[in-house]
């Protein structure tokens, strides 16, 4: 079994198609939509957590690629600008997945990008604006 968080970029022509439905029906993958929106240019973006057998997962990804969906691993999306971060910690209670947490020893804020679901709640509430989004 695998469980992975991925970012899907849908080109304009795919926005109206039931692609996620196929992932369930054909590839027996469980999904959890973490975020989804359509940009003004009508490109779709969806952050998904996919859960299922490794084989099915790989086939599902192949299917998505064959449709023209661009796939990106999630951890690349939100990064912390270490220069700007003052390690205050006001982001910690805002982060829904504890990707941002306090190291009790150093009193510094750690960022575990593997846990990040790119909800971006931290981005605007960070006083020195150290959390940056890179798509």
């Amino acid at each position: 079994m695998v469980s992975k968080r991925i970012v899907l970029h849908f080109p304009h022509r795919l926005v109206n198609q039931p692609i996620v439905y196929k992932l369930v029906k054909e590839y027996d993958l469980k999904f959890n939509i973490l975020k989804a929106f359509v940009t003004p240019e009508e490109e779709g973006l969806m952050v998904l957590e996919l859960n299922g057998k490794r084989e099915n997962f790989e086939h599902g990804i192949e299917y998505l690629k064959s449709c023209g969906v661009k796939i990106q691993a999630l951890s690349q999306d939100v990064i912390r600008n270490e220069e700007k971060c003052t390690n205050c910690g006001v982001c910690i209670p805002i982060c829904p997945t504890q990707a941002l947490y306090l190291d009790k020893e150093t009193a510094k804020v750690n960022f575990d990008s593997k846990k990040c679901i790119a909800c971006e709640l931290c981005v605007k509430i960070c006083p020195p604006r150290a959390m940056e989004v890179h798509f």
Binding site: G89, L102, A107
Partner: protein, 404 residues
């Protein structure tokens, strides 16, 4: 037992024993107050949090022909300055915003660039765009100027913060059913989070709660350079209830501080943006406590568990100036990452960087040990816990115009 003069002699000989406000806690616990007081000469404190009542004044020198910016209009990178002084003196406040900033018109506003950011860029050595218009006089004929300026070319550039270094602060929560955007950060509805803002056991005024060693004229670490306590800060409120250990249970004393901006660093003066609230300056302050007697070190040894703060509702009560606490918690509980409020477990976040506060206390310790920083004698005390000095609310009175 010891005088500041004697401690300074030791500093000059490189013999002073200096510990941070964190290290002194264990030390006193192990050796006892008496022995620790004999051994230790100075305890260094630090804090690094947003402090809105900050700003800097400048004298930029006279242009040819001369311009009287005083009484005119002046901005640095479009952020307006206060010009009500002589010809080329002006003051830039940390929370000042460019005229065309949308503020909270698109709610919550982002406040990406304000006076605080200009100050940080100035201390980074960057060129800043100065624009000013004036009404013109016989001796100052020029009406308009646009030029790049930088810190090193200015005559004076002085950080002068009228309220910094709060002795304790509220823990902010939101009891309402919608998010609120405050100077204490974003507060999620229905007790979604609890934000606090203090270095606790490292915070200067919490470690000398009765201001016994701190006063007007005390030399401090300010924004990376050297500064001084100029006065008590605005809203200084020393007479609030205190715990048995003398530490105020709610926001109390404050400091007005001053220092040469040219010595300071962008590491210790950081312009920040509080979503939906405004721009503000995070200021790094370090303060030395001379161990004059046992009482001083006993106070300096207060730990997070000994320091209490009040939980305040920023959803309804704070904005309406309704007093009242939802309970009190100590800084050990706050730093554990969660507290209990009204029976609910609430995650905590700090606006004040403890790791940076620690770094400041270490840096000040190094400076004292290496004789780069000697202590100063305060020239006058700050209004104390029995002074009767207090922080009042505004009494509004109707403006009655005389009928002709």
């Amino acid at each position: 037992m010891k005088t500041i003069k004697e401690i300074n002699e030791k500093i000059k000989k490189g013999e002073a024993v200096v510990v941070t406000a964190e290290e002194v806690i264990d030390l006193v616990q192990k050796k006892g107050v008496k022995k620790a007081a004999q051994e230790v000469d100075v305890v260094t404190c630090g804090t690094f949090g947003p402090m809105c009542s900050s700003g800097a004044y400048f004298n930029i020198g006279h242009s040819k022909p001369r311009i009287k910016i005083g009484g005119g209009v002046c901005s640095l990178n479009d952020v307006p300055c206060y010009t009500g002084f002589a010809a080329v003196d002006f003051y830039l406040g940390a929370t000042a915003l460019p005229e065309d900033d949308p503020r909270n018109k698109v709610y919550p506003g982002e406040f990406k660039y304000g006076g605080a950011h200009v100050i940080q860029e100035l201390v980074s050595g960057k060129d800043i765009r100065l624009e000013a218009t004036a009404y013109g006089t016989d001796c100052y004929p020029r009406r308009k100027i646009e030029t790049l300026v930088r810190l090193s070319d200015m005559n004076e550039a002085v950080l002068f913060n009228i309220r910094n270094c709060y002795q304790n602060y509220n823990v902010a929560v939101n009891l309402s059913d919608k998010p609120v955007y405050t100077y204490m950060g974003m507060l999620k509805p229905n007790l979604g989070n609890a934000n606090y803002c203090s270095a606790g056991q490292l915070s200067p005024l919490l470690k000398d709660p009765y201001y016994r060693t701190i006063g007007i004229g005390t030399r401090i670490f300010l924004g990376g350079g050297t500064g001084y306590i100029a006065w008590q800060g605005t809203q200084h409120n020393p007479c609030v209830p205190r715990k048995e250990n003398g530490i105020p249970q709610s926001p109390a004393g404050t400091l007005a501080v001053i220092g040469d901006l040219k010595q300071m660093s962008p590491k210790w003066l950081v312009g920040v943006s509080m979503l939906g609230y405004g721009a503000t300056l995070v200021v790094g302050i370090g303060l030395p406590i001379p161990v004059l007697d046992e009482k001083v070190i006993e106070h300096a040894a207060a730990a997070d568990k000994d320091i209490y703060a009040q939980v305040v509702d920023y959803g309804t009560n704070y904005p309406n100036c309704v007093p009242g606490s939802l309970g009190e918690v100590n800084y050990e509980q706050l730093k554990s990452g969660k507290i209990i409020v009204q029976g609910k477990e609430v995650l905590t976040g700090n606006l004040s960087s403890y790791s940076k506060a620690r770094e400041i206390s270490e840096e000040l310790k190094r400076r004292i040990k290496e004789n780069e920083f000697v202590l100063s004698e305060p020239v006058a005390p700050l209004p104390g816990a029995d002074s009767g000095y207090s922080f009042k609310s505004l009494k509004e009175r109707p403006i009655v115009t005389k009928e002709e």
